[in-house]
Amino acid sequence: MRPDLSRIADVLAGDAQADRVVPPTGFTAWLTLFSAAAMAFLAVFALALSLATGRLADRWAGELAHSATVRISAPAGQLAAQTEAALKVLRTTEGVKSARALTDAEQRALLEPWFGPDLPVETLPIPRLVEVVETDEGFDAEGLRLRLAAEAPGAVLDDHTRWRRPLARAAARLRFLGWLSLGLIGGAMAAMITLAANAALAANSQVIGVLRLVGARDDYIARAFVRRFTLRALGGAAVGAGLGALAVLMLPEAQRAGTFLTGLGFRGWHWLWVLAVPVLAGLVAYAATRMAAFKRLREMP
């Protein structure tokens, strides 16, 4: 489709008299209206999914990228010395904003959910954890690993990429599936509207014959049909998108569950996407009906 905006505006502005030359098209009108509404409703959810997974991926990447952990396991006698050595390495590493060994109390708090409150942390061979905060540029994980191995053999760097990567991949895949669904929804709508337009054109072949007899151009005849289907798709999609947005708004808040769910809602300017759904539906209907109409008219003697 060549998006010729002035032409589309022309079609939408229409002319009341020209509109009347094609009789009301009954069930195809409802088919168009209903499928546009249903597809727009689904499109809003697919959009919400895509945008939410996008947000999720960004957040995971953002939150996790800025922190790392160094775990130091060593015989009880060497633990303090190795921790000190590791901290020294970390403090002189470019890209590390701060590094801090967790206190016994903090470590106990971390383990409490699993072992209960009275764990004698001091007497157990539990590794010491060092919390590392990165700068925005981040550090070179491989270089740091090598230096730690040299200074504190019991230190293991965990920069979280190991488990962040599959999550980010899953989020990206979800986002892709969301956009794919949107494409499929658009395609299905185009197919249904083409079908409806073809049915309307076939049912009106006698009308088209009369219009040609009195000197109507194909463009004029096509426009009468195109305008009708475009406006119907626009209207149906507006209703469907409105209902979809309402449904998204009424989703229960998931934030408090403390999970990774960010809620399926739209944030800020993302609401504009909801407004774009009916407009896109109108464009799809315009292109689909125009193609169907001209194809039909070419085939008619």
């Binding site: 009347r20 007899l213 194909d218 008219l297």
Partner: protein
């Protein structure tokens, strides 16, 4: 205006029309006659570009029909008023809207033409049926509406297929007077009919050539007409 040059036409079976030569000069008046099924309607359709000759050449206003795209034909149709044998209306529109249809599709301002429209509706005696739908009309009323629609654009050529087939003698005389008057204004007119009495009556008012289709060929009718 409209010219058929050695035209033949067949709907797929044997040839229905052969070696047709016809030249509708500006301002001429023709009758086309012949038995039912001879091909009168087919010949008219060739004249307004609804059918393309299987061989030979059809020229509309000097342009070869085969070389014309559909838009060209649409534009040429606006200069040809056609009264179709079975009228061909849009049943969901009123009589007035149907008569105005050629104006509508060519983008004319209907308000500017409303006086013209009213006068014409009156002329064909349909003023009291102006808001009726075509299916509610009698056969004769339909033909009068079809004639009004054919002339609303003030076309150069009027092709009428049995325009008086369903009306009484008096009304047919009135419709003929309208067509003769249009011819006096310089319009080219061709009327297909098998009503010989109508032709005889008209010949005292207008210089008309009478053509007859017989044995697939077009001939000038004898002096008996």
């Amino acid at each position: 205006m409209i010219e058929l040059d050695d035209v033949a036409y067949s709907y797929g079976g044997g040839e229905l029309l052969s070696e047709i030569k016809l030249d509708l000069q500006p301002g001429s008046f023709h009758f086309l006659t012949g038995p039912s099924g001879a091909g009168k309607t087919t010949l008219l359709k060739l004249c307004y570009g609804a059918l393309v000759p299987t061989s030979g050449h059809a020229r509309l206003f000097g342009k070869e029909l085969r070389g014309m795209v559909r838009d060209d034909i649409a534009v040429a149709r606006r200069r040809i008023g056609v009264v179709h044998q079975d009228c061909q209306f849009l049943d969901h529109l009123t009589v007035t809207e149907n008569i105005a249809l050629p104006l509508t599709v060519s983008g004319r301002d209907l308000l500017a033409e409303s006086a013209n429209l009213k006068e014409l509706t009156q002329w064909v005696g349909l003023s009291n049926r102006a808001d009726a739908k075509p299916p509610e009309l009698s056969g004769g009323e339909r033909q009068r509406a079809a004639l009004a629609r054919a002339v609303i654009m003030s076309p150069d050529v009027i092709l009428a297929d049995e325009p008086t087939g369903n009306v009484d003698w008096e009304m047919s005389q009135r419709l003929m007077r309208l067509l003769i008057e249009l011819n006096r204004m310089g319009k080219t007119v061709m009327i297909a009919t098998h009503d010989l009495a109508l032709i005889r009556a008209a010949k005292s008012h207008v210089q008309a050539r009478v053509l007859r289709i017989s044995n697939r060929r077009l001939q000038l009718a004898g002096a008996d007409l």
